[in-house]
C-alpha cells in the first residue's frame, strides 16, 4: 500500500476460515440481500432494454451481431464459389467479385473473428471469475454500439456497389489510387471498430487482472483468464501499428501526402509491414481464445483437471510473444534479403512448438481422464483434426522456397481456412453448444447438433481439401475467373459443392439456435458437471451473476470446494447485499487475489449509445470528405464521454468503508495503482505508445529503404520551435505532476494554479510544434509528410491531455476531486508521463535525427 493517510485500508479477517464459512446465514438476511441485489441489477424493460450495459446483455448482443456479420460474409463466399464453379463464368463480374472477396475477408476478420472473442469474453469472463460484471460496463456498451454502427456502415457499402475492392489487406498503391470511397470506408469504418476492439481489450485485461474473486491467485485462475490476458496484450500491441498505418493511409487518400507513393519518396512496402505486424498476431488473437474455449471444455469431458496447466500458460504466453516475429512470412516474395527472410522462417517454425504443446496438453488430459464424449467435444475433436492439418501446411509455408511457389495461390486459401475453421469456427460452435445452457438455461438439440457437425465438417473438407491441389496446379488467389484450358474446373466445382454443404450445416445450426424452446424444460444447474465457476449461476437466471462473490482457492472450485454453491446462494460470501442499491464488484490484487476495495459499477445509460453515435459521425463523415459535421460529431462525442465520466466514475463515495461480508470491511474508493481506472489508463497508454512507435518505425524505415531520405537540400523543421515545443510540453508535464503532489498534500490552491498553467503550457507547446514544421510542404515528398504526421499525432494527444487537465481542474472546483479522492488526477498524470515521453521523442526526431542521418 502507498500509505496515503486519507483513504482507509481494508480491515477484517482474510482469508475466511472454515468455521466462518460454515455459519449459516439467517433467512431474513438472505432475503434482504437478495432483494437489494435484484433491485440494483434489474435489467431495464421495454424500449429501455437497449440502455442496458450489463455484461450478459451486451455480450449477447455482441455475439449475435458478430454471428450475423459472419453469415453475411459467408453468403459473399457462397456467391464467389458459384462464380468460380465453372471456367469463364459470368455470374459475378470482375468488379463485384473483387468487392465480395475484399468484404468477405475484412468482415470475417474485423466483424466476426475479433469481435466474437470480445463478445464471448464479455459474456463469460465475469462468470469464470465469479464477478458480477466487467469493471467498465459502459465501456463495453460503448464498444458494442461502435461495432454495430461501424459494421453496418462497412457492410452496407456493398448495397451501394461502393464497397472497397482492393483486398482485405488494402495494399497501396492499388488501394491508395482506387477511385471512389471504397478504401475510405474500409479505413475509417474499420479504424472505428479497431478503436472499439482496443477498448474491449483494455477492459478484458483489467477484468482478468483485478476483478478476480478473493483468494483466486494467478496459479488457480481459469485458463481462459490467462488467455484473455495474453490476447488482450496482443491486441494492445498488434492493432496500434495498423491504426498508425490507417492514419498515414488516410492522410495520403485525403490530402495527397505521399507515404506510399514511390515517385515522391514513399514506399508501398511500409504499409505491408504495418499491416502484417498487425495481421499475423491477429491470426493468434483469433486462435488463442478458441483454444481457451477448448481448455474449458476438455477438463469437463475428461472429468479431471487439465494436465499441464503451467505448460498451457507457457504456450499461451510464448505464442503471444513469438507471434510478433512472423509477420514477414506474408511478405516472403517482396524481395527482402535472404537472411531477413530466414529470421521469419525460423520464428514461424518456432511458434509451432508452443502451439503443439497446447494441443498435446489436451490430448494428455484426455488420456489421464475418463473420457465422456459429448456434443461440444465432438466439435472440439473436429477442430483438432482440421487445425492440425492447417498447422502442418503452416509449417510448409514457413519454408521460404516452398512459399515462393504457393504464396498467393489457392494453397494459401486452403491453409488459412483450415487454420481459421479449425482454430476459430469449430471452437466457437463448440462454445455455443457448451454454453448455450449457461446462457439460456436450455439445451440445444443433440440430433440437430450432430447433423450440423457432420454437414459442416464434411462440407468443409470437400470445399477446402481440393484447394491444396488447385493451388499447386497453379491457380492464383483473388481471380474472378479462369480459362477452361487451365484444368482447374473440376476441382473448383467440387469446392463449390462443398461450400453448399457447409451452408446447409449452418442452416441446421441456425435453426437449432433460433427455434422456439418454450416447451423445453430448463436444464439442471451445471448440466455438464463442469468444475469452474460459470456453472454456479442460478437456474432460472438472475441478473446479478453470482449471489455472493466466493472465496476461491482451487482451479476447479465446483469440484474441490465442498458446499461452495450452496454457500454462494445463501449469501455466505462477499458482497451479499447492495445497501445503496448500487451495482458493485470486488477488486482484488493482481497476484494473490487479496481483496482491495469495492468498485462501484455503472448501470444502464443512454449516454453510451449517444457517444457511440457521435463517434461514428466523426469517423463516417470524413469518408465522404465532409469535414465540418465530422468535427462537430467528434466534439459531441467528447462531450458525451466527459458527461459519462463526470457523472458516474470516481465520484467521492458516501462512506469510506463498506461491510463486504465475512467481517471484511473494504474501502469504496481507490486511487492510483490500486484502482482499475489507473490500470485501464496504463494499458491504453501502452497501446497508444505502440502506435506512436509504429510511426517512428516508419520514419526509420524510409531511411533504410530509400536513398533520398531525407532528401538533399530539403527544408527541415525549425530548430528553435522544436526546442520550444519540447521544453513547453515537458513543463506542462511537470506542472501536472506538481498539481498531483500539491493536491495530495492538501495544497488545493497550488494544485488548481498548476492545473491552470499546465494546459496553457501544453497549448503553447502544441503551437510551437506546428510552427516547427509549418513551412514544410507535406505533399512534395515523404520526408516533410512524415514530419507533419508526427506533429499532428503529437498535437492531437496534447489536445486530449489538455481536456483531461481541464477535467481535473473542474473536478477540483466542483468538489468531484479532492485531496482524498484524487483518482482522476492520478490517471491524468499517468497520461502526461507518456505525453512527456512522446514530446521528447518527437522533438528529437524532428530536430536532431535528420541531421544525424544526412
Amino acid at each position: 500500500m502507498t500509505g496515503r493517510r486519507s483513504l482507509p485500508l481494508p480491515q477484517g479477517p482474510f482469508p475466511p476460515t472454515e468455521e466462518m464459512l460454515a455459519q449459516p446465514v439467517p433467512e431474513a438476511e438472505q432475503k434482504r440481500g437478495a432483494d437489494q441485489l435484484r433491485a440494483a441489477w434489474k435489467t431495464p424493460t421495454g424500449w429501455r432494454y437497449w440502455s442496458a450495459v450489463n455484461n450478459s446483455e451486451v455480450g449477447t448482443w455482441y455475439s449475435l451481431t458478430a454471428l450475423t456479420f459472419m453469415l453475411i460474409a459467408g453468403l459473399l463466399a457462397l456467391a464467389m464459389r458459384v462464380q468460380l464453379a465453372f471456367p469463364d463464368s459470368t455470374f459475378l463480374d470482375a468488379d463485384r467479385f473483387n468487392q465480395f472477396f475484399t468484404m468477405h475477408g475484412s468482415a470475417m476478420m474485423f466483424l466476426f473473428a475479433v469481435p466474437m472473442f470480445e463478445a464471448i469474453s464479455i459474456l463469460l469472463l465475469p462468470a469464470f471469475l465469479g464477478a458480477r460484471d466487467m469493471p467498465f460496463p459502459r465501456l463495453s456498451a460503448y464498444g458494442y454500439w461502435c461495432f454495430l454502427i461501424g459494421g453496418c456502415f462497412v457492410l452496407g457499402s456493398l448495397l451501394f456497389d461502393a464497397a472497397p475492392k482492393a483486398g482485405w489487406f488494402m495494399y497501396p498503391p492499388l488501394a491508395t489510387k482506387e477511385d471512389g470511397i471504397g478504401p475510405d470506408i474500409w479505413l475509417l469504418g474499420l479504424s472505428f471498430i479497431e478503436v472499439a476492439s482496443i477498448a474491449a481489450a483494455v477492459e478484458l485485461i483489467v477484468g482478468a487482472l483485478k476483478c478476480r474473486p478473493p483468494g483466486m491467485r494467478v496459479n488457480v485462475m481459469p485458463l481462459y483468464a490467462w488467455y484473455v490476458m495474453v490476447v488482450g496484450g496482443m491486441i494492445l500491441f498488434a492493432f496500434p501499428p495498423l491504426i498508425a498505418g490507417d492514419f498515414l493511409f488516410e492522410l495520403e487518400r485525403s490530402f495527397d501526402w505521399p507515404f506510399f507513393d514511390p515517385t515522391r519518396g514513399g514506399d508501398p512496402i511500409l504499409w505491408q509491414h504495418l499491416f502484417w505486424i498487425f495481421g499475423h498476431p491477429e491470426v493468434y488473437i483469433v486462435f488463442l481464445p478458441s483454444i481457451a474455449i477448448a481448455s474449458m471444455i476438455v477438463p469437463t469431458v475428461a472429468r479431471r483437471p487439465i494436465v499441464g496447466y503451467s505448460w498451457i500458460v507457457l504456450s499461451a504466453v510464448g505464442t503471444g510473444f513469438l507471434s510478433f516475429g512472423l509477420w514477414v512470412h506474408h511478405m516472403f516474395t517482396t524481395g527482402l534479403p535472404q537472411i531477413s527472410l530466414g529470421f521469419f522462417s525460423a520464428a514461424s517454425e518456432a511458434v509451432v512448438i508452443p502451439t503443439g504443446i497446447q494441443l498435446f496438453a489436451f490430448v494428455a488430459t484426455l488420456m489421464v481422464g475418463r473420457v465422456k464424449m459429448s456434443l461440444p467435444m465432438l466439435w472440439i475433436a473436429g477442430a483438432l483434426a482440421i487445425f492440425v492439418a492447417g498447422g502442418l501446411t503452416g509449417v510448409m509455408l514457413a519454408i521460404v522456397p516452398f512459399n515462393w511457389q504457393v504464396h498467393d495461390t489457392y494453397f494459401i486459401v486452403a491453409h488459412l481456412h483450415y487454420t481459421l475453421f479449425g482454430g476459430m469456427v469449430f471452437p466457437v460452435l463448440a462454445w455455443v453448444y457448451y454454453f448455450y445452457p449457461f446462457l439460456r438455461k436450455k439445451l440445444l438439440s443433440e440430433t440437430l447438433g450432430r447433423w450440423a457437425f457432420w454437414l459442416i465438417f464434411t462440407g468443409f473438407n470437400v470445399t477446402f481439401l481440393p484447394m491444396h491441389l488447385t493451388g499447386l496446379k497453379g491457380m492464383p488467389r483473388r481471380v474472378f475467373t479462369y480459362p477452361e484450358s487451365s484444368g482447374w474446373g473440376w476441382l473448383n466445382l467440387i469446392s463449390t459443392i462443398g461450400a453448399f454443404v457447409i451452408a446447409a450445416g449452418f442452416a441446421v445450426f441456425l435453426y437449432d439456435l433460433l427455434r422456439p424452446k418454450k416447451d423445453q424444460p430448463q436444464i439442471p444447474r451445471n448440466p455438464w458437471g463442469a468444475g469452474t465457476l460459470e456453472f454456479s449461476h442460478e437456474v432460472p437466471a438472475e441478473a446479478w451473476g453470482v449471489r455472493s462473490v466466493p472465496y476461491i482457492h482451487s482451479r476447479y472450485p465446483l469440484w474441490d470446494q465442498p458446499k461452495l454453491v450452496e454457500r454462494m446462494d445463501a449469501g455466505r460470501f462477499y458482497l451479499q447485499d447492495a445497501p445503496d442499491h448500487q451495482r458493485e464488484t470486488i477488486v482484488t490484487s493482481v497476484i494473490d487475489g487479496t481483496p482491495m476495495y469495492v468498485q462501484r459499477v455503472t448501470g444502464p445509460a443512454w449516454i453510451t449509445l449517444l457517444a457511440a453515435g457521435f463517434t461514428g459521425g466523426a469517423f463516417i463523415f470524413p469518408t465522404f470528405h465532409i469535414y465540418t459535421p465530422a468535427i462537430i460529431s467528434g466534439a459531441f462525442a467528447i462531450v458525451c464521454v466527459l458527461y459519462w465520466l463526470w457523472t458516474s466514475t470516481a465520484r467521492p463515495p458516501k462512506d469510506d468503508l463498506r461491510e463486504a461480508g465475512l467481517g471484511l470491511r473494504l474501502p469504496t474508493y481507490a486511487s492510483g495503482p490500486d484502482s482499475v481506472g489507473w490500470w485501464a489508463m496504463w494499458i491504453t497508454m501502452l497501446g497508444d505508445a505502440t502506435a506512436f512507435a509504429s510511426l517512428i518505425f516508419g520514419f526509420f524505415f524510409y531511411w533504410t529503404a530509400r536513398p533520398d531520405f531525407p532528401p538533399a537540400g530539403a527544408d527541415h523543421a525549425i530548430g528553435v520551435w522544436v526546442v520550444a515545443a519540447g521544453v513547453l510540453l515537458v513543463a506542462a508535464w511537470a506542472s501536472t505532476v506538481a498539481a498531483r503532489e500539491a493536491n495530495s498534500r492538501g495544497r488545493i490552491i497550488i494544485a488548481r494554479t498548476a492545473l491552470l498553467v499546465a494546459p496553457i503550457l501544453a497549448l503553447a507547446g502544441a503551437a510551437a510544434a506546428y510552427m516547427a514544421v509549418r513551412q514544410m510542404d507535406p505533399t512534395s515528398h515523404v520526408y516533410p509528410a512524415i514530419m507533419w504526421a508526427l506533429m499532428i499525432w503529437l498535437v492531437a494527444h496534447v489536445l486530449a491531455g489538455v481536456i483531461m487537465q481541464g477535467y481535473c481542474l473542474a473536478g477540483s472546483v466542483w468538489g468531484k476531486l479532492t485531496d482524498k479522492y484524487d483518482a482522476d488526477l492520478r490517471n491524468v498524470t499517468l497520461y502526461w508521463h507518456f505525453m512527456a515521453l512522446k514530446a521528447v521523442t518527437t522533438a528529437v526526431i524532428l530536430g536532431l535525427v535528420p541531421g544525424w542521418l544526412s
Binding site: M1, N219, S310, G318, S340, A347, D592, P595
Partner: protein, 131 residues
C-alpha cells in the same frame, strides 16, 4: 484468523508483486534478439555493410541472449523448486504454490525462448549473402 492488514507483511514471498512480469523476461530476451537481428540485417543490407561482420556480430548477440536465457532459466528452476517437493501442478491456493507456479511457468518460457533464439540464429549461420 488472519487479519487482511497482515497479509502483505507476513507473506513468505514478499517481493512478488512483480513476478507476473518476471515470467516474460525470457521471451523479452527473445524479442530483443529478434529485433536486433532483423534491424541490423535490414540496415547492413540496405546501406551496404559487411555481411561477414554482420554474421559474426549476430553470432555474438545470440551467444549473449542464450546466456541470459540460461541464467533466467536457472533462477526460475530454483523458484520452481521441483527437485525438493516433486510438485508438478502447484495448484493449491497458497503463497508457496503460487510462487512455485510462477517459477515453473518462467522456466518453461525460458526453454521456449531458448529454442526461439537458437532457431533465429540459424539464418545468419547458413546464409552468406544479403541478396
Amino acid at each position: 484468523m488472519t487479519d487482511i492488514r497482515q497479509i502483505k507483511n507476513t507473506s513468505v514471498y514478499p517481493s512478488e508483486t512483480t513476478s507476473v512480469w518476471r515470467i516474460t523476461f525470457a521471451p523479452l530476451v527473445w524479442a530483443l534478439h529478434f529485433a536486433i537481428s532483423y534491424g541490423a540485417t535490414a540496415l547492413v543490407c540496405a546501406k551496404g555493410g559487411q555481411v561477414g561482420a554482420l554474421r559474426l556480430g549476430l553470432g555474438g548477440v545470440t551467444a549473449v541472449a542464450l546466456l541470459a536465457i540460461i541464467w533466467l532459466a536457472w533462477r526460475a528452476w530454483r523458484h520452481w523448486d521441483i527437485v525438493r517437493d516433486r510438485d508438478w501442478e502447484n495448484d493449491a491456493g497458497t503463497n508457496e504454490d503460487r510462487h512455485q507456479f510462477l517459477g515453473h511457468a518462467a522456466f518453461l518460457l525460458a526453454i521456449i525462448s531458448f529454442i526461439g533464439v537458437a532457431y533465429v540464429s540459424l539464418p545468419p549461420l547458413l546464409i552468406q549473402t544479403c541478396q
